[in-house]
Symmetry: C2
Subunit: 101 residues, 2 copies
């Protein structure tokens, strides 16, 4: 389920802060994001923790990555965000989501 990945990704405050950082400066590496979370947000989190958060954001389609040599750059993709509110702003004839987990 696509919507599920999206909302689950947004549910964590650290992931939302990562999106904030990528909004300010796109194309950051893992270490760069780690440094910013630590410096600007006083987030004492390990590199692995950030890496796992980025994986969740990528699975949700909110972050796209490109490799260059040993560097992996992370870019923001706001497309999924813009469709969130639309779902509940107008009545739908049928439920847009199957809910059988």
């Amino acid at each position: 389920m696509v919507a599920d990945d999206l909302f689950k990704a947004l549910a964590d405050p650290t992931r939302r802060t990562i999106l904030d950082e990528l909004t300010q400066k796109s194309g950051q590496t893992l270490f760069e994001i780690c440094a910013r979370l630590s410096m600007k947000h006083q987030l004492g989190i390990s590199r692995q923790g950030v890496s796992q958060h980025l994986a969740v954001l990528e699975a949700a389609g909110l972050v796209e990555t490109r490799r260059e040599g040993r560097y992996k750059f992370h870019d923001l993709n706001t497309a999924p965000l813009r469709r969130i509110a639309d779902r509940w702003l107008a009545p739908h004839p049928s439920g847009p989501e199957e809910n059988t987990p």
Copy 2:
């Protein structure tokens, strides 16, 4: 944290289905929502489960309630939804969310 309640509320698929139902028909009671989840969505969930979900949605500001006698009606409030995407669509000078849990 307001944003935290909002995103946590949206993280659960059952709660999103409840929002779908309230979009279709506003002002439903707890039992009415229970019946619709069971009939239309094959969700085998207890009344307490639905009640707890509604409490979370109300804490997030997505649902507002009004009592009339022994009935409690639930109405949708889409205002918080419309501000979600805005956060990451334009760069912010400083982080809009404190992240010190």
